[in-house]
Amino acid sequence: MRQSGVFHRDILNGFQLWRVWGYLAINDLRGKFARSTLGAAWIIVSFAIWAGGVGFIYARLFQLDTRTFVPFLTVGFALWGFVTSSFVESSMSFLGSAGYVKQFNLPKQIYVYRSVLAQTITLSMSLLVCLAVIAIFGSLTFSGILFAIPGLLLLLAAAMLHSFFSAYITPYLRDFPHAIGSFMNVIFFVTPIIFPAQMLEERGLGMVYRFNPFYYLLELVRQPLLTGSMAGMDVWGGALLYVVLLCIVVWPFCKRLDSRLVYAL
């Protein structure tokens, strides 16, 4: 019998069941777009429409250079969507699978992996649009894509930790998804996504982004994609520090809630 119950062992055993959560995640996306003609291609199409429309409008509005600003905005927005969903969508990992959790005895972490994978697939499709946008404006480089990969991996680690936290706290605190959703809406406007970081610097508001962990997570991927070179040490340092701190908080927190979680569903 696959006796579940020990947290660190469940984390690993659950991960090895990739066939299960992989299948669930892919079918989540298929189910979400079921009965539509385009299906999951809507992820690409809707993001492409967004990037095309908003990109030009904002470039006009802020009087910024379209060639650099539109790729900047598109990549930032795609990454931000991923960060937000790691909090908001993942909050339903256990609650949405409550029927399964109460019926089958597989390690319940598979339902978190399921959410993260579905979000990662969505991000990958959005990033395809980003690559197209960057290519259109002529700054796509192979080295940029290559250097973005380590950044993406750290971003994924952060998203996984966000998801674990969100998935575990929500059954106990049903206000969490709403609260974090509104919180992230505010953070969106102080994170350099719709404006470049220099803009804050020029106005003496550099602190606003320098103490914002999401800025570092975004830059990890955005900087290489846009400039073709690895993100700076300061960015890596900030992002790594955040992920380590997150791990120190999230791991014991989830471990503590793990054994009694079924009762809260």
């Binding site: 079918n27 298929r30 029927g99 109460k102 019926q103 597989l106």
Partner: protein, 239 residues
Amino acid sequence: MTIQAIRVEGLSVDYPLENSLGIARTVLGKGAVPTNNALDEISFTVNDGERVGIIGPNGAGKSTLLRVLAGILPPTAGQARVLGTVAPLFEFATGFEMELSGYENIRIRSLLQGIAWDRIKEQMPEIAAFSELGDALYQPVRTYSSGMFIRLAFSTATAIDPDILLIDEAFGAGDQHFSVKSAKRMRELMDKGRVLVFTSHNMDLVRSLCDRIIWINKGRIVEDGPADSVIPLYLSTEV
């Protein structure tokens, strides 16, 4: 020497009556989250080859006990050791992916039962045939009637070869034809399985399937013994 398949020692389960981390309660000095004691220091062992019926009134703790044995609910105190592969057959009609087809739902449920990917492929025709759902299996399950859900879930859940079978009120599934069919499948499974733990309110059914009865009430064992002596006693006091 007989081999112990299930060993339950001092098992207690407390259900929290509130969904909270208890932080607000601690701050307000209201004490711990209130709980409902569903199982209260239960101990028993089940040997290889035994068929155990769990009986008792509603809310006695029967389903809780089965869920602990299945490894789904963690005990508050004590422990439950279970040796061998376990097949829990509980509330069949929950947890479906509504937009996905019957086939995909069978695959998902099989995966969650711990069946290997390739094995599912092999079993699929047999599961599909047993469900008698035919072409409906290609349709999204949101189009299914409640009886069809039961057919799908039952056919999937019983396409296994477990050592220990845990059944929670599983009979009476679907229409007359399918009920008879599923009862027959159950008996076949019991013949294959080493151990059965079964809960039901249908005493005739319990008597026909189980040789040993554990009667529980309010989370405690009232009687534990052969079916012929415990069931009449239960009927004379409870009814």
